[in-house]
């Protein structure tokens, strides 16, 4: 059970932003392209320099080692990256087979060549990889952008269940207002200077 709390977060001339995602809650984040949605997720994951504070429960980001922070605050980029030949070698923690099955793969998928995966397969495997490391907060950057409707539904259900089971806080960036309405409890639109809450 972890709450994600963002206080006066500024990065690259944007902000300050304040936002709280309660434990087990999902907050949708939208905004025109170039509004800095991805940059916000990167700042929260401490991948870019920023000012202000991000808390996971009561623990402030700077009080722990950065790798430890990123294991707990897991960022799923729009385009996943792979550095070893087969999918399984790219998992940084033990693979949870149930996750793979829920996303439509069986065990074989781990021995597949990454270079031959479709963009949708990559996106689903990247989600399985992230969830396998059991983060306490999820920062999802258009996690279903390359998926077909059946797989979108699978992924959405899986993420909803993950946050219910683990109490993880989820920040979900999407262009699709209907998706935000389906998966999120609150919705904010990002502007240069502030977050504006939208009615779902």
């Amino acid at each position: 059970m972890s709450r994600l709390h963002i206080k006066a977060l500024c990065y690259q001339g944007r902000g300050p932003f304040n936002l709280t995602v309660q434990a087990g809650q999902c907050v949708g984040l939208s905004g025109i392209s170039g509004s800095g949605k991805t940059l916000m997720l990167r700042a929260i994951a401490d991948l870019d320099t920023h000012s202000g504070h991000v808390f996971l429960d009561d623990a402030e980001c700077q009080t722990m080692q950065a790798p430890q922070w990123r294991k707990q605050v897991g960022l799923l980029p729009t385009e996943s990256q792979w550095w070893h030949d087969t999918a399984g070698e790219n998992f940084t923690s033990a693979v949870e087979l149930t996750l793979l099955k829920r996303l439509g793969f069986d065990e074989d998928a781990l021995s597949w060549q990454v270079s031959r995966l479709s963009s949708g397969e990559r996106q689903r495997l990247a989600l399985a990889r992230l969830l396998s490391s059991r983060p306490q907060a999820l920062l999802l950057d258009e996690p279903t952008a390359s998926l077909d409707s059946a797989n979108i539904q699978n992924a959405e259900t899986l993420i909803v269940e993950y946050r219910r089971d683990t109490g993880a806080a989820v920040l979900w960036v999407s262009h699709d207002m209907e998706q935000i309405a389906r998966v999120a409890e609150r919705h904010f639109q990002i502007h240069h200077e502030a977050l504006k809450e939208q009615i779902i």
């Binding site: 401490d46 320099t49 790798p67 430890q68 990123r70 960022l75 980029p77 550095w83």
Partner: protein, 266 residues
């Protein structure tokens, strides 16, 4: 038998080869003719100069002059490492990094060879110290510039991969591991190849020189083996130091990839 002295006419004759090469490059639109000619000219002028300088330094045999000469050689090597980088570290770091690595490895190994292996008295005898240092610096410089170039270029191209690994909670060392390994290999391959091919494929330049100079082949070979070992160690340790310094600078204390520490060459 002493070496047969070469006259300026002999060298002029050899220079026709270079002129012919440049002319071919021009005719085939390879665009290399200017660089071929300039570097041939540089080799001539620089070697003639060093010949005179060495004669003076050998005559004086004073540690201060040798130290000055070693310092100039190190600075020139540092400049050369920098010039060969497509993307280099900003400011003094770019220069300092290569110089630190070369200084630490080349100078230590030269000192070791002079005082423990060859045991010449005094250890700074310029006829030994300067050529040894020169060979070590030259090879270490090659290794380090190849390795650094590979490291910074790959890090630049694989930015997304490195950051993906960081996102998954890997440390900066883990996230850069494959690239470091690859860069180390790139820097070491030339010397490993030349050790493996020595005698079979190529007769190393120093050995050839000694044999041409009338020394016994066996003595020349023994020296060549020594030199090979020294160069391999110098290059290897130099590359390791440079890699360590450089990969640290690519990240900040929060394990963020900081490519803003690099500038690309115009």
């Amino acid at each position: 038998m002493g070496v047969i002295p070469l006259s300026p006419t002999d060298l002029a004759l050899a220079s026709f080869l270079i002129l012919a090469l440049a002319w071919m490059s021009y005719r085939l639109h390879l665009g290399l003719e200017k660089r071929i000619l300039i570097s041939a000219l540089r080799t001539t002028v620089q070697l003639l100069l060093i010949g005179f300088v060495l004669r003076i330094v050998f005559d004086l045999a004073h540690p201060a002059w040798i130290a000055l000469m070693a310092f100039i050689m190190l600075m020139a090597a540092g400049r050369e490492v920098l010039a060969r980088q497509k993307r280099r570290f900003k400011g003094w770091q770019g220069f300092g990094l290569g110089v630190t690595a070369m200084f630490t490895s080349s100078f230590t190994i030269t000192l070791f060879a002079l005082s423990a292996v060859i045991k010449i008295e005094p250890w700074y005898t310029p006829q030994y110290a300067i050529p040894l240092l020169g060979m070590l610096l030259g090879n270490t410089m090659n290794g380090i510039s190849i390795c650094l170039d590979r490291l910074t270029n790959t890090a630049w191209q694989q930015r997304a991969v490195i950051e993906q690994r960081l996102m998954l909670g890997q440390t900066s060392v883990e996230a850069l591991l494959d690239i470091r390994r690859d860069s180390m290999r790139a820097g070491m391959i030339p010397i490993i190849n030349s050790m493996a091919g020595a005698g079979l494929v190529s007769l190393p330049g120093m050995m050839t020189g000694q044999i041409l100079g009338g020394n016994s082949p066996i003595d020349a070979v023994k020296y060549q083996i020594l030199i090979m070992f020294l160069i391999a160690a110098g290059t290897g340790f130099g590359v390791m130091i440079a890699l360590r310094l450089a990969s640290r600078r690519l990240f900040d204390e929060r394990h963020r990839l900081r490519l803003d520490c690099l500038v690309s060459k115009k």
